[in-house]
Structures are given as C-alpha cells and as structure tokens.
Amino acid sequence: MGNQQSIARFWGVPLFWLFCLVIATFSFPYFEELFRQVAPNQRQVIYTRDSFFALLLNHLSLVGIAAIISILLGVSSAIFVTRSYGKDFLPLVSQIASMGQTFPPIAVLALSVPLLGFGALPTILALSLYGLLPIVRNTLAGIQGVDSAVIESARGMGMSSFQVLRQVELPLASTVILSGIRTSVTINIATAAIGSTIGASTLGDPVISGLVNGNTAYVIQGAILIGLLALSTDSLLDRLQNRLSTRR
C-alpha cells in the first residue's frame, strides 16, 4: 500500500465522517438562523449548557474507558477459559456470553442505577459489562476456530504455550476479535447516549434536554453529532478490520 492515492481511498470513508463530525461540532452556532426555522417558538435554539466539544470528549472517554475495560477483561477471560487450567469454566462463560446478549442494553443501564446510583460511574460499569459479551464471544470463537493442526505444529517447533498463544492463536483470531470489539463499541456509543438519562454527561444531553423542553433544534444537534460519531467510529474499525484480514 505504498501509493498515496490508494491510502486516501482506503481511509476515505472514515476520514469523511470524522471531517463531518469535527465540522458539525464547531459550526452549529453559525447556523442559528437555520435551527430557528426548526424551532420557531424557542428563545434559544443552540444548546449552550456545555460546549459540543466537551460533550463529545466526555462521550468518547466514557466509551473509551468502557471499551478498554471490556477488551482487557473480555480477551483475558476468553484466553483463561481456553487454557487447560480454566477449561472448567468454558461452558458457563460461553453460555453467558451468548445468553447475555438477550438482555437489552437499556435494561442493563437502568438496572445499574439502583446498584451504583446516578452519574458517569454506573454508565461506565453498564457499558463495560454489556460490551464484554460480544468480545468474549468473538475471542472464544476466534481462538476455537484456529486449526488444531496449526497449534500442534507450532508446539512441535518447540514453542512454549505462551508463544503459541501470542504468535499463533491470537494473530489468527485477531480479525474475529476485532469484529467483536467493533460490535461492542458500536453498541456502547448508542448506549452511552442514553446514559444522559442516568446523569452521565454525553452527546445525549442536548437530545434529552430538547425532548423534555420540546426544543427540536437541541434534539437535532445532539442527534447529528451522535450519528456522526457512530459512523466515524464504525467505519474506522471496519477499515482496521479490513487491514488486518488483508495483511495476512
């Protein structure tokens, strides 16, 4: 992938959405007249309680922290249950990972409030718990999908079991793992937006506040930013996944 043009084309879609996201984050105040058309009866049509940039950063950090926790926990627990010392737990863990996805994320989010109260912390907990499931499931599928003959021959070459894991199993499973991470992050961006209702400050704030006060302009501003954030993250992860699978 040496030439510049193909790199631009390869990363074009995520770059486009990122560009839109950045523009939208900073330019809403300049479109006051346009938003006034949408909400003619409102005194104020641009959400100003927090800057959109601050909300975006907050949203990103909630999702980011949750993603790091669920990747660390998810991948390591999937590795644990596929080793000989953890294999007792394999049926239970894989069953939970597939059954847990039956629970709607909004219910998980709501149930975390009685346990932890309002704010960013219960949101992060709910996001990381829910985000664990696709990662565990895909990591398990990825590791179990590695041909046992490949592992045998790696052992035969004198690799230790840690080397087999690091140099054979994880690289071969990486595409599937990344796809689990993508599912997890996409769900979490959406769920974090609803986290506004439990007191986490996210891009959902303008939407919720607009819905409560009947200010459609606020709703649109929040909704556009949430949508663009989801599209840029998802397309970025899609390209990464593509990169990983073509490099092999």
């Binding site: 909004i106 219910a107 409030v113 599928a141 796809s179 959902g204 919720i208 909704a223 556009i224």
Partner: protein
C-alpha cells in the same frame, strides 16, 4: 491423589453464595416510600433456623463437587432448585415476621445479597445444565418451580409489601397499558419488517445490483444509534403532519408512535434481510438440482425445498429482530411512544428505583420469553440454533 482434578466452577459459585448471604443485606425495609430503609441480613430476615438450612444446603453443594459420585451433579441441581424455590418464600416469611400490620405503607426492598444469590443460583443452573448436557426444556421446567412458589407466596398475601409490587399495585392500569403498547409496537415492527424484508430479498434475488445498494443502506441505518435516529425523525414527521390532515387524523406527529414505528422497522430490516437472504442463498445447489430433477416446478422447489431448509436461519433473524426491537421500544419511550420504557425514564427522573425496576424487569422478561419461543421454534425445525455463530 495426584491426577484427579475437581471441577472448580461449582465450588466457586457456592462459595461466593455463602459469602454473600453471610456478609450482605438480604432485604431492606422502608416504613414508606420516602423514608430510608433499614437493612436486614438473611439471618435477621428469616431467622437462624432457615439460615442454618440454607447454609447447610450450600455447603453440601460445595462439598459434593469434591466427591467422586456419579450423581453428584444431579444432587447439586436438586439443591439449586430447592434454594430457588426458597427465595420467594423467604420474602414472605420476612414480611410476616418483621412488618407489623400497622405499617400499611411499608415496602420491602430486595438487598444486594438477594440479587447476588439469585444471580449465582442462575449461573449454577446454567453450569449444571451445560455439564449434565440437559436440554433447555428441563431447565425451563425447573425455572417454573420458583415461579410457582412466587405465585403461591403472592396469592397468600405474603409479598404485598414488596416494593416493586407496591409500585405495580399503585399503577396497575398504567402497567397493563404499557405492556400492551410495548408488545404492539414490537410485533407491529417485526411483522411489517418481515413483509418488507421478503420484498427486498425477492428483489435482491432477481436483480443482483440491488444487493449493492440495499446491504450498505441497511448497514448504515443500523450503525446510527437509536437515540439519534428517533431524534432525527421528529422534525421531518412533525413537518409532514403539520401539512397533511390525513396524517393528523391518524394521530401521526413528530413524537409518539409514528417515529418510533419507523425507526423500529428501519432497524429490524438489516437482521431480517441479511438472514433471509443468506439462508435462501446457502441452500446447496445440488439439493435444488435434485428437486428439479424430480420434476418440481420452480415454485414447488422454493416452497417445498428451499424455504424449509432456510427456515432455521430465517427464524434466527426474526429472533434477533424481536429481541432488538424489545430493547429499542424501551428507548422509544423518550419520544413519547409509551411502553415499558416510560417507567424506566419516569423512575430515573424521580429517583424512584422501584419504578425503574417495574420497567426494566418486565423488559428483560419479555426478551427472555421471546428468545425462548424462537429457540424452541428453531429446534422444531430440526437444527440447533445458530446463536453460537459470530456477528460480523
């Protein structure tokens, strides 16, 4: 003896259960809705005699893991079932021992130990089901037992102080209405998207170019978070409704059922179309050839061969769609669509946790029931569910 290893899962789960009932509050008692509650441990709540029985049962389940006995897992299953049956009874016993008749507004909240114990018992049930290779049907039968004991305790009047039931009794009409709206929205969206998906799939099978437009479009919609899509539909729908009397007559406006329905259908299309299309395409061509060779007409081939063979995967698509729609409908309460989400968001607004539970628990239950129905339907079609497959 070296070389013999024991399964570590049950000891861990039973050990954690013991720890939780000995260290955390099992229930808490509020004199009324506003005053803070007082916590009770399991021993305070049901007396030391019950505490002794529960502890003994858990310790036996713990010790059974280390014994070489062919039936040890069945015994553990029996213990887990007994404990599950005990849980509703424990609540009613607490109410009769600790709540005087004079406290007419008293509320029993479920404490951390209750939830942890319930969660661990469910995990044990799943674990034993997996290790004993029992069918899901037996597990369903076992889970009916605690439901029966719950109903028994409820009809006996022992559970009326339970906070979530107090909340339910205070607004039972609203609750039934919400359940009805929720189910109507979900089934409406699922049925409509089934019809639309069949048309789209038919189109895609005829015109190959349609695939290149439909899949990316549906993927695009699926990527947009629910709150954003609901929000973005408000302005255009509100505008259309203000222009058209016909739409106004149908009660369509920027908020309410209309944007919710549109968004739900839009989200439902991707899993529905993807599974239906893939399922129909993947029927092996040699089978189709054989059917043709037997003199079947193209229509017969489709209805008698292709469709039945594709059915499990199509049903899996409907399963995913339904479960997804149950959760999304909860979010739709924010744009005034009603349904069980109303209780969640109202409860969050008033910091009334029992009301949040009144919304969230039935949503969980609906999702579980839908899951069960569709997995049973898939089992009827003779193939194992494909739920262990990986989402890409």
């Amino acid at each position: 003896m070296l070389g013999i290893r024991f399964d570590k899962v049950m000891p861990l789960l039973t050990g954690a259960s013991l720890l939780s009932i000995w260290s955390l509050d099992y229930v808490n008692l509020q004199p009324n809705r506003i005053l803070p509650g007082v916590g009770y441990s399991l021993q305070d709540a049901v007396g030391w005699w019950w505490m002794f029985i529960v502890t003994t049962l858990l310790i036996s389940a713990f010790l059974l893991s280390f014994i070489r006995l062919p039936t040890k897992r069945l015994l553990q299953l029996l213990i887990v079932s007994l404990l599950l049956v005990f849980m509703p009874i424990s609540l009613s016993s607490f109410a009769s021992n600790h709540i005087p008749e004079t406290l007419t507004h008293a509320r029993t909240g479920l404490g951390a130990a209750f939830w942890v114990l319930l969660f661990l018992l469910v995990l044990m049930l799943i674990e034993l089901q997996q290790k004993l290779k029992l069918s899901r049907l037996i597990i369903c039968l076992i889970s009916i037992l605690p439901i029966i004991s719950f109903l028994f305790a409820y009809l006996d009047g022992g559970l009326e102080t339970l906070a979530i039931l107090r909340e339910y009794n205070a607004r039972s009409d609203q609750f039934h209405q919400a359940v009805k709206v929720h189910i109507t929205l979900v089934s409406g969206a699922v049925f409509t998207s089934m019809l639309l998906a069949s048309c789209l799939v038919a189109l895609m099978r005829k015109v190959e170019a349609a695939q290149k437009i439909i899949f990316p479009l549906l993927n695009f919609i699926q990527t947009i978070p629910s709150l954003a899509l609901f929000g973005l539909l408000i302005a255009p729908l509100g505008y259309l409704a203000s222009k058209s009397e016909w739409l106004q007559a149908m009660n369509v406006s920027g908020i309410g059922w209309a944007p919710a329905m549109i968004a739900l259908i839009a989200y439902s299309l991707l899993p529905m179309v993807r599974n239906t299309f893939v399922a129909l395409e993947e029927v092996s061509s040699s089978i189709i050839e054989a059917a043709k060779g037997m003199g079947m007409s193209p229509l017969q081939v489709f209805i008698q061969v292709r469709l039945p063979l594709a059915m499990p995967v199509i049903l899996e698509g409907i399963r995913i769609t339904t479960i997804q729609a149950i959760g999304l409908t909860a979010v739709a309460a924010l744009i005034g669509a009603g349904g069980l989400g109303n209780f969640i968001f109202q409860g969050l607004g008033q910091a009334a946790m029992d009301m949040v539970l009144l919304g969230a628990l039935p949503i969980l239950l609906l999702a579980l029931v839908a899951d069960l129905l569709f997995t049973s339907a898939m089992a009827l079609f003779g193939r194992q569910s494909t739920r262990s497959g990986v989402i890409n």
